[in-house]
């Protein structure tokens, strides 16, 4: 395993050199190699000596006690022992009351519950799903374009579900582009294909230094990583991987792309940001496979999602520690004006 990842890393390094022009495919390969290496390294610590933990499952069909492996078993593995419908429908788990990814390893003895899109109170699964939609928008933007366009992802804010769309701020370096309906549809198809691919969403906590190494080609993420690491307890950065797409986000994501069915890139608006310069705001909307919708209602929602979303623009998030007080006031005024 180690040899394969080492050779992958070498080959990736070979591709990526300062003389060649940056492309998204090369950058992704490099990131994946680093991610895989780190993942195997972290796993090795638990695999050598397997410890057992007691997990209490509460819910349908009945309460069960399970003996799982520490640092290796995930809530998905617990569901495998209980029932098939739990495996397929669970979006997110509650481990000791805390939101937990379905494929995130369990660390200590705990109480576990599962949440799905058709729950009595689906508030948490809805938020998780909306966050995943924005994450997938990043994947769409990085993969959809040809190699001559180098896409740099900036950030995605936590927009609530009621606003009607999720959003990713991106630097496409195409300042005069107004996407046609056909182009938007082809972008949406990249997201629509994911349902077939059955990709899991994997989570990995890494040191800030490794994260900086992985995202050194993205000028926005380079700036954001120190701030993100500051907020974390152990000063680490949380990464998520879906297939070959890796991104930084704190909250949990859904379990598998088979739980996402409809995906639409609604519109791309041009915005200006004081901190990051001119950006493109990509707005999208998605539906899980558990819920059905008539094409007319879906069209209505897509039209609503294509309206410019001025909520939580990039200037909203300015770290107070960096700005001196005068400049801070200016920034606040600018944000209000925007």
């Amino acid at each position: 395993m180690q040899n394969a990842s080492q050779s992958a890393l070498k080959s990736a390094k070979k591709f990526y050199s300062s003389s060649t022009k940056l492309t998204n495919t090369e950058v992704r390969k490099k990131r994946n190699a680093l991610f895989e290496e780190e993942k195997q390294r972290q796993r090795a610590a638990y695999v050598k000596r397997v410890e057992k933990i007691l997990v209490n499952y509460k819910g349908q069909p009945k309460d069960v006690k399970l003996l799982m492996n520490k640092g290796i078993s995930t809530p998905y593995n617990c569901a495998m022992h209980i029932n098939e419908f739990l495996m397929k429908r669970s979006i997110v788990a509650l481990v000791n009351g805390e939101l937990w990814d379905i494929h995130r390893p369990l660390e200590e003895p705990c109480d576990i519950e599962f949440r799905h899109m058709l729950d009595q109170d689906p508030k948490l699964p809805n938020q998780v799903f909306w966050r995943t939609g924005a994450f997938i928008l990043g994947h769409v933007m990085e993969t959809a374009f040809k190699d001559n366009v180098y896409v740099e992802l900036c950030s995605f804010p936590p927009i609530p579900v009621e606003k009607g769309c999720f959003v990713y701020d991106v630097d496409l370096k195409l300042p005069d582009w107004k996407p046609s309906q056909r182009e938007l549809t082809s972008l949406s198809m990249v997201g629509g294909e994911l349902w077939d691919k059955n990709w899991d969403f994997e989570r990995l906590e890494v040191d800030a230094s490794l994260a900086l190494k992985m995202f050194e080609d993205n000028r926005f993420k380079r700036e954001q990583i120190p701030d993100i690491a500051q907020k974390h307890k152990q000063k680490r950065v949380v990464l998520y991987r879906m297939g070959e797409h890796i991104d930084i986000t704190s909250g949990p994501l859904i379990a598998n792309t088979s739980q996402l069915y409809r995906f639409q890139v609604a519109q791309i608006h041009h915005i200006k940001s004081r901190r990051f310069g001119p950006l493109q705001r990509v707005q999208g909307i998605a539906m899980p496979s558990a819920l059905h919708m008539h094409w007319w209602s879906w069209d209505l929602l897509c039209k609503r999602a294509s309206k410019p979303m001025d909520y939580l623009l990039p200037d909203y998030f300015i770290s107070p520690s960096k700005e001196p007080t005068q400049q801070k006031e200016d920034n606040v005024r600018a944000a209000v004006e925007n």
Partner: protein, 214 residues
């Protein structure tokens, strides 16, 4: 007073039992039987027209019992005549009256049953007393307002109606501009001498029209 509608004329219940006669006396026999069954079992099934008739009589009995109480002689006589079993009069006064004393709605509920093909030329129906101990006929509908698709559609609806209302306000104000004057902006200003002049509240200008001369 009954809390649901009753037909003006009694229905002719034709052929209520095969082999029995027809006519008013047989009809009352039939209804006596089924009203007693309803009071006993609290949920019965039958043909729609017949159950509708029994419903009227059952509701009337209960409402009379509530109004007059068991010490009222005519009510007691009526109850004993209507029920074949003595226990039913007891149940009426001791169980059903306290149950339905404070009801604002009717005491019974009717629900049509599904037709089994090829079916009959009439609906079969379930007639039940409210507050019965059986599980309800309809399963409890859960609240689906929190589901993702419903949240998105409700938000889209709100947006649409807010826009619609705003455009309506714009349309109304444009109409007013065309007409030239709004209602309630004119008032009469009284002078010291006692004569009044019509005045525009907003602009303060007067037409010069004297109220006395209008």
């Amino acid at each position: 007073m009954l809390k649901f509608s009753v037909k003006r004329r009694p229905r002719k219940l034709k052929g209520v039992w095969t082999g029995c006669g027809s006519g008013p006396s047989e009809r009352i026999k039939y209804l006596r039987h089924w009203v007693g069954k309803l009071i006993r079992d609290e949920r019965i099934e039958g043909r729609e027209d017949r159950m509708n008739e029994t419903r009227g009589y059952a509701e009337q009995l209960i409402s009379l019992a509530i109004q007059n109480g068991e010490n009222h002689r005519p009510t007691m006589e009526m109850a004993t005549k209507w029920f074949k079993e003595k226990e039913m009069t007891y149940k009426l006064f001791k169980v059903l009256v306290p149950r339905y004393e404070n009801y604002q709605t009717s005491f019974t509920r009717i629900q049509r049953l599904p037709i089994e093909y090829p079916g009959n030329p009439y609906y079969n129906v379930v007639l039940e007393l409210k507050g019965n101990p059986y599980p309800s006929i309809f399963p409890e509908q859960r609240d689906k307002a929190g589901l993702l698709n419903n949240i998105l559609i409700e938000a889209a609806k709100k947006d649409f109606y807010n826009e619609h209302r705003q455009s309506q306000v714009v349309r109304d104000s444009m109409e007013r501009d065309i007409v030239g004057l709004e209602r309630d902006t004119l008032q009469v200003r009284m002078d010291k001498s006692g004569s009044g002049k019509v005045e525009n509240v907003k602009t303060g200008s007067t037409d010069g029209t004297d109220v006395d001369k209008l």
